[in-house]
Amino acid sequence: MVNTYEETEVAVEKKFVKKEHDINADIEWAKINKDILRSLERPRAIFWVIFVASFALFMVGVSCEVYQYQTGLGVANLDNPHVWGLYVATFIWWIGMGHSGTLLSALLHIMHADWRKPIYRYSEAMTTFTLLTAAMFVLVHLGRIWQFYYVVAYPNERWTWPNFQSPLVWDATAIGTYLTSSLIFLYIGMIPDLAICRDNAIGFRKKIYLFLSLGWMGTDRQWANFRVTYLTLACFLMPLAVSVHSIVSTDFAASQQPGYHITSFPPYFVAGAIYSGLAVIITLFIVLRYTFRFEEYMTIPILEKLAKLTFAAAMVWTYLNLIEYASTWYGNDMYAKQALIYRATGNFAPFWWMMNFLGSVLPFALAFKKVRTNIPVMLVLSILLNFGMWLERWMIISPTLAHGIYPWTWDHDQWPSFVQWGIVAGSFGWFNMLFMLYCKIFPSISMYEVKEMLYERRSFKTKKVAEEVSNPELAVEGGLAS
């Protein structure tokens, strides 16, 4: 039997490409430009609804902060010894979310997993904005926010320096490094796309893109430099992302507070960060997919891959979580053990159990393909998982502080005041606002990389078909004859 080229093509597609059918390899490149640049034009009405809601939420946070600024941190219902509360918990949570974006992008880039290409851009943007949000919490939680610049190392008329021994300074350094590096990574990766925007935009927008695209022309020399640069940056960013959250964990692990002073905290924090980051990527995936009609690029198989990764991360986190409890229990240190028992039985116990359920049990739903491919379910699930991770951070901060080494000062039964909740809510508004503005101004899917992906897919297919055609035996084996 003679196989026509077309028949072979279909067969090859069945055999090889089916597994990789996450994106249709035959989309016209010009259509990609058009589809994605459309997100910079008029979005669905839901966009504006969310935007206005976010702005309102942000203003709630701002007014709470103004009140707190004028009155003192007491209005947040923090007290001695419960000096940290939702601010620090939410700070870690935002920082953690920022992880998956850049880390995933860099890791998958190095590993040549090309399904990252439609989703990495908005993930990186998410990283940037979660970091900005987290940095905001660092300021908000300070008693004297107006003196925050004392932490910055610069020569000054006081002849003072920050205390480089403090994990908070490492934190500031690490976050600063991560923020700037992520920004550079995001920007450099965006330059070819900015050139596309420039080539298609008109009016004042063109001037902006003209400026931002730095005259990129896509010459072979530029591409060669670009490739090396992008890979190198990815290599730097991956360890950086790991280091940032480990350093954040030293804020706790390096202290003497029982329940904070835990050796496994750095990997535990990193795992939690990746976990919550993946969950938020899924959430944003679904939202963007709907808002900007990206169904062709953000396809269900990609979502499934993300879900599988999330499941894996959840299991890593669960393991580290349990090992933390186990080692505390087994280590039999009186202070830490009492703190652990307090977490499970004290005032915060309902939240602690909820956290364990949401963090460890709920992700098993992701083992089912029906769940993974169901978009509304995934939306709810990802939000719930993230809420569980937020609870995790809160359960590290609050119960532990309420139950320290010194029994006389235990637990005044503090519940965060509306100021704390307001500022936490405001941070969501702030993040959403920034992220949506970003998606409105910059392409949230990397156009050139999607093209690259399609190009690779297509050449792979072509190559395979060519192989099949020139080698009939292989074709027979592959079942083409039938």
Binding site: W170, D199, G215, G218, D220, N225
Partner: protein
Amino acid sequence: MSKSHVMALFSDFDQASAAIRDLKSANLEGFKLDDVTLKSPIEHPEIEELLGKRPVYVRIFTFFGALFVPLLGFLFVASSQATFLLQPKGGKAVIPLPPNFVLTYEFFILGGVYMTALGFFICAKLPMKRNKLYNAHVSADQIGILIKAEDAIMPAIKDLFTKHKPLEIMWGEN
């Protein structure tokens, strides 16, 4: 002898590479591969097989950044600790190594990233002014081949291009 530029737009990479292959085999006098520039919407590393390896110097920047910035960072931290003598810490040395290593590591990343980015801008000559011989299609789905050549061989190049059915041929001052 004056030189001028010509650019041809092709609808896909195969056509463009065929054109370059032809150019190479044509053995035109004074034609150098260095003068060929491929403008593409995506990266085509395969083109280096035809045009020869394009030198990339970014890694040199990266190397120096990752080497010297942490060193300088360590010295910066240590010396500011030494001058900030009014705050010795109980239980710790004035210049304690573990925190400084953590910070040095951050400086290492920072140096690597910054210098890589700097190297990229320098090596890729960004920001630059766009050539006049630029077409917006290059950023969408077409491939452009820009050749800088002496006027004498310019007609031959154009002929060669035409043979490969380009979508468009542009020439003039760059």
